[in-house]
Symmetry: C2
Subunit: 480 residues, 2 copies
């Protein structure tokens, strides 16, 4: 489809021609972001940020329901704090930005801009946690973080991004594990019920886990091109940070013990997932629960008597019913507006013209199926609300079907290679669990381990690649 | 009052002994913040952050009602952008933090951490604004900013702080002025109706205006010690940034014109204002509309049959009615809990014991007046809701009375000096408007101009200090 911008026509690259260009075309033409003069940093424009606000509100409610409260920790982390947990500093030090001058003074110790906040938060936890009575600590932070990236892509990988990071402290290993799993479950439920994105939940390999964690759980989604996107992670930190930062508590039994910790996060990257799971040649398709505009009203033959008045009346009714609605009364043709709102992925378009009004009806066009149908004006709020629900369900189901169609089981290396060559998507196969083998697979095929899913399937006893005894069934895929 | 913390008792310094220590004692003991290892940066703990979340929600709704949308711009600003507006860079350059290294590479151009975002935003506006059809642009950003401060105080002045910054672009001088005044009005209404803080609205002097603005409006509040706190500002930027950043648009008349801009902001500093306007010797007094806990239920003789059950029932009823409620069933004495919740400034405490239950009643204690009274249990939600409204009104009125009592008119320099020596608070006096005179007053008395209020009062024709012709009646005060 085409968009008129100041005299020249821009086109969205077709998905099958170049998926990656399709992605950046859509983002730019739907006015979600813009590129700034700052290397690797994007500007999130109103339409993109509106999605993030809806994500924030609905996730935050879930965090609060599970007993978490928000807090805020400093942006800058002194070098010596970053270095307290050995694996962590090794993982993050190469990609942080350093502040070396404050005002007119050169700093005695450089400060890094947080790439994640475990270290600054643990430095506080070591003061706050003294007794079993102080536990559990259940905190979350919404903030910006920065990782100096060499190559970047809007939403998917940018130097600065917005996210939430949960950080909890527990008295026992079991409680920490329970929390790690619980929050992954919150992510999964949110992604399915709000973003309409089906995800595979499972455990990351040793190589792919968070730097400093005991183990990492993940939710992985399949994009339209068959590649995987890691949508969120939940880390069981064990006692690694507790030992590095001396977070000890006096337990009920009078013993001084190291605490057990977790951390978990999702970011603006999810917006990239929304685009690549649901979009089509016309542009975005936004899941209704995070669509900044759920229903747009386009008057047809707006100059005819009564049309604009009726459109306004419908706008008031829908808005009053809590449906995010916009009335497009700009001086442009209906066709031009249809294109624009399809590009922007608005789930429902309501068209109202003189003939509709005569019949006491209006047309409702669904963005998910691109079909439209006439509906009575009476009780239109309820009709639109139900339609939004149906659209959500249909978007989820079609994403689910797509993933199932492009997931296959490889029982041996030949099947594995063949599937990869055919570009089929997710490969399920048995694996030995060894990093060396994982690296060899990546080198040969370009695919990485995504996770060992919680729902295992028995595909044999030996590793699909090296033939050693298999530990788990893994998902393998190319990924963003 | 005293608080038990791990075996030793902490005391709040009395206000009249040392107001400044009272302030930091209250903040620390009410568990709002903690000091981090990072110079000048505080950790905002759950209880403090909960207030900020309520401020954000209620302000954000007001921004949206007035047509603004949120967006997000990069944290890091290249040096050459900061330098494009001459007054602006002069004002801010001495207090910014510089990133000079990213990952392993030394940067060719240093990047500063935003002290405010005019420059990065204007660099985008120069791309986005081409035609009168693109106007107005009405954006807001919630974010962290950093100013390298020499001496800091929690909430009032910290190197990093959280705020919102509105940035708008208009076609005419008049529209920009209208917006500047409108947003100051939004702040004023918010502070009065949500924070229960009366404010003086007016214009800053040339010396005190924002670096780069044509002129700055402000809302100023009086703290309990008679000092002023600048609670929020709204700047008419004129065409200063438009010229520096080349923000031009083709107007209806076919002429290329520089745009007119505004910016406006409030920050976590307001929380400092809440503490210093409302607090007392027992600790915080939170205005009900930003109190994370509006009503705390304390069971009395909780071991007696039916007490905890009744307390739980009341909790469910209040929570169900949308009142932010907490049930304190910890194993501590009621008296200990009363102290704790008074320190934390919870507006209403509901006490329920066996004798209350027998009578079908409960005690409601108001934090604002420290009085308590018995109320029937029937329809308790409505009773508490009304009481919260009364508490808000009473807190506003008492802050208003305090300000009026400590504001005086100086008709000549003797009266001015006498008032200052008596430590009376705000001085109203006629003033010539000259920076030199302003600096001399400050040097002699320690007071600064706060603003020329919109509501002027005629106190004579000549400047209270230098005797030259007076331009405006000003508020003068010592300030934070």
């Amino acid at each position: 489809m085409a968009k008129q911008t100041g005299g020249f026509v821009e086109h969205i690259t077709p998905q099958n021609e170049d998926f990656s260009r399709w992605y950046t075309d859509v983002i730019k033409m739907a006015d979600m972001i813009d590129y700034s003069e700052v290397k690797g940093c994007m500007v999130i424009k109103q339409y993109g940020y509106g999605i993030w606000e809806l994500i924030q509100n609905q996730l935050d409610a879930r965090f609060k329901e599970t007993g978490h409260k928000n807090a805020y920790f400093p942006l800058l982390i002194p070098k010596h704090l970053l270095e307290k947990e050995a694996e962590h500093v090794e993982g993050f030090a190469p990609e942080v930005a350093w502040v070396t001058q404050g005002g007119t003074e050169k700093l005695a110790e450089p400060l890094c801009i947080r790439p994640t906040s475990e270290t600054i938060i643990c430095s506080m936890y070591s003061k706050w946690v003294q007794s079993y009575r102080d536990l559990p600590v259940l905190l979350n932070q919404w903030c910006n973080v920065l990782r100096w990236e060499k190559s970047t892509r809007p939403f998917l990988r940018t130097s600065e991004f917005l996210w939430q990071e949960g950080h909890t402290v527990h008295a026992t290993r079991e409680e920490a594990e329970e929390e790690t799993v619980r929050m992954l479950g919150v992510y999964r439920e949110f992604m399915e019920n709000v973003l309409a994105i089906p995800v595979i939940a499972g455990q990351k390999s040793e190589k792919e886990k968070f730097a400093g964690a005991d183990h990492t759980y993940t939710v992985e989604a399949m994009m339209l091109d068959g590649k995987a996107l890691q949508m969120g992670t939940s880390h069981n930190l064990g006692q690694n940070f507790a030992k590095g930062f001396d977070i000890q508590f006096l337990d009920r039994d009078g013993q001084l013990k190291y605490a057990w910790q977790t951390s978990w996060g999702v970011s603006t990257r999810m917006i990239g997932g929304i685009i690549m799971v649901h979009g089509d040649e016309r542009g975005l398709k936004l899941p209704p629960r995070v669509a900044p505009i759920q229903c747009v009203i386009v008057p047809v033959a707006a100059h005819k008597e009564g049309v604009l008045e009726k459109a306004q009346e419908l706008f008031d009714a829908l808005k009053g019913a809590g449906i995010r609605t916009e009335l497009d009364d700009r001086d442009q043709s209906p066709g031009w507006k249809f294109n624009e709102w399809e590009l922007k992925g608005v789930p429902v378009r309501l068209e109202i013209g003189p003939r509709d009004i005569e019949k006491g009806a209006c047309m409702l066009a669904r963005r998910d199926t691109c079909e439209k149908e006439s509906y009575p004006l009476e009780n239109i709020e309820e009709t639109v609300r139900q339609l939004l629900g149906k659209i959500h369900d249909n978007m989820f189901e079609s994403a689910f079907r797509h993933r199932e169609e492009r997931t296959f089981d490889a029982h041996n290396w030949e099947e594995f290679m063949q599937g990869i060559e055919e570009g089929r998507g997710f490969v399920r196969a048995m694996w030995c669990g060894e990093t060396e083998c994982e690296e060899a697979i990546k080198e040969k095929t370009g695919v990485t381990t995504r996770c060992a899913p919680f729902e295992q399937k028995d595909l044999g006893n030996v590793c699909v690649h090296c033939g050693k005894p298999a530990k788990k069934m893994m998902y393998f895929a190319k990924s963003y």
